[in-house]
């Protein structure tokens, strides 16, 4: 059998971390079982308020050894409730990776048997959701200095969704053109996807004359 992390140890580690995280104020952490394909997996899903987010991030990095920021994304809920009009979702991972030791001049690779991992060494998956109230400029605290991997994730989230990250150094457009008008964030829900039917395509085959239907307007 292959050497993979067992579900039981993963569940134990997830419960341990979630109970520890729940003690912080403004943080609700539960273990949710995700099922995709054939094998279930347990992840720590955390609901956090935007003012407690910074402290939660620091404690995750320092106390729980969450060393990897996988993804940061935002969702715009215009028709959602007024206290959850925006949502920022973080996906973290606890990898437990350290530099391999150098013994008598040779690097000794760290080859752990994943099926034998226990306790804090178990790789874990954390999902943090931060709900933001209805506002014109949603913002949360940046974790760029804690996880460098969060840097471009936050850039992209601001670029596409328009959620600003306080304390982010060097925020700029990454996927949109640099001359994109200020305040245009295409993944906000007021921008509808346009469909060119074939007459429109063939009137202007190369699309030179084609303009966004909401061009020039400030969104």
């Amino acid at each position: 059998m292959g050497k993979t992390v067992t579900t039981s140890s993963q569940k134990l580690a997830a419960e341990e971390m979630s109970s520890a995280l729940s003690e912080m104020d403004g943080v609700v952490a539960v273990v949710s079982e995700r099922k995709s394909g054939t094998s279930p997996r347990n992840i720590v899903s955390v609901d956090c308020s935007s003012e407690n987010w910074r402290s939660l991030a620091e404690s995750m990095r320092i106390e729980h050894g969450v060393d990897y920021c996988s993804m940061i994304t935002g969702v715009h809920w215009p028709e959602g409730s007024s206290d959850k009009n925006w949502e920022v979702i973080y996906h973290f991972m606890r990898m437990g990776v350290e530099n391999p030791p150098v013994i008598d001049g040779m690097v000794q690779p760290i080859v752990k048997d994943p099926s034998k991992l226990e306790g804090k060494a178990v790789p874990l998956e954390i999902e943090v959701r931060i709900a933001l109230p209805e506002t014109r400029d949603p913002k949360v605290a940046s974790v760029q200095d804690i996880w460098v991997g969060a840097d471009w994730n936050e850039k992209e989230t601001w670029d596409l969704v328009g959620i600003d990250f306080e304390g982010h150094v060097g925020m700029r457009r990454v996927l949109q053109p640099h001359e994109t008008p200020v305040g245009f964030h295409p993944l906000q829900k007021q921008h509808k996807l346009r469909y060119h039917d074939f007459e429109e395509m063939y009137d202007d085959a190369q699309g030179f004359l084609r303009k966004p239907s909401d061009a020039g307007k400030i969104k």
Partner: protein, 317 residues
């Protein structure tokens, strides 16, 4: 240079090994010499059976890959066993579907879209399934699948009748020769029309006066020689500029009518308008997917039969 635990640069490796490997590769393509054992080790250009015995017994000899030998790297030549060659396929002079025909089975390979008009019911499932709206409906003259059943066929007689003012179709007698010569993949023309369509003007006894749609004027034909035809909405008017050949339309079709053919070229143009393909271009002959068409015919004829029986019983009651 930093100390590296393995792959240490050595004077020996400066030229010898890489140059020997490239020379080996070149020698492999030389006649007679390329067959030597120390040049080809293991699977290099070893012909292998396409299917294991169990599978070939199950699928039978009709399967395209039955009784076929192949070489994993396309190097083996059964014609001149001593001649070796590089693995390049000189398209268009050589074609991959000649080399590995089992890759291009119609319905398995996602080629250009093809529709069997006879069985299409314009349910628009394919149009709905298309991710980027490249399919459209159009109305064409066609023969319903129920009318394709020949005399004496099990499912004959469940189709419509030839009526005055309606359309009729007469099978072309030279159709089989045309079908023999027509190769969907290699000559990029629309599939040959199986019928000559006409408008029925008058029916007296078993002689029908028809006016051919191709403009050859009126003519009296035997009623038994023509089939009823109709002008229906069929699917498959395709915008190739948008199609990404995902095959979702084929899977969405509930009537065995929509196919991805194995044609993979002749789909280019100098403007986007050229990429607009009419349904005439996407027509697929029923004989290509005979068994599926027969299946569909049986299904619908059964339904028609039961309906008629119910009507009959209702009439009695």
């Amino acid at each position: 240079m930093s100390y590296h635990p393995h792959g240490t640069p050595s004077f020996r490796n400066l030229v010898v090994r890489p140059m020997w490997i490239t020379l080996k590769t070149a020698l492999r393509t030389v006649p007679f010499l390329g067959k030597l054992k120390f040049l080809k080790s293991g699977y290099h250009a070893q012909p292998a059976d396409m299917m294991d015995s169990e599978t070939s017994r199950r699928v039978g000899a009709s399967h395209p890959s039955a009784e076929q030998k192949f070489s994993a790297d396309r190097e083996t030549s059964q014609l001149m066993p001593f001649v070796e060659r590089p693995v390049t396929v000189m398209y268009p002079y050589e074609r991959l579907d000649d080399l590995e025909p089992w890759l291009f089975v119609p319905g398995n390979y996602n080629g250009r879209i093809g529709v069997i008009w006879e069985t299409c019911t314009a349910c628009k499932q394919c149009v709905r399934a298309c991710p980027n709206d490249c399919l459209h409906m159009t109305s064409e003259v066609r023969v319903n699948v129920l009318d394709t059943a020949e005399e004496g066929d099990e499912w004959h007689g469940f189709g419509g009748e030839v009526e005055v003012g309606g359309l009729a179709a007469m099978p072309r007698d030279d159709f089989h020769e045309i079908e023999e010569q027509h190769d969907l993949v290699k000559d990029h023309t629309s599939a040959p029309q199986q019928y000559e369509f006409a408008e029925v003007i008058d029916i007296t006894g078993d002689v029908a006066t028809v006016n051919w749609l191709n403009g050859s004027g009126e003519q009296d034909v035997d009623l038994s020689s023509i089939k009823p035809a109709e002008e229906d909405i069929v699917s498959g008017r395709i915008d190739l500029g948008r199609c990404m050949f995902c095959g979702l339309c084929m899977e969405a079709c509930p009537f065995e009518s929509f196919f991805m053919t194995n044609e993979y070229d002749g789909m280019s143009g100098f403007s986007r308008e050229d990429l607009w393909m009419d349904a005439d271009r996407t027509r697929v002959l029923p004989s290509v997917h005979k068994e599926r068409v027969d299946m569909e015919l049986a299904k619908r004829a059964k339904k028609e039969k039961s309906k008629r029986e119910r009507k009959a019983t209702k009439a009695e009651a």
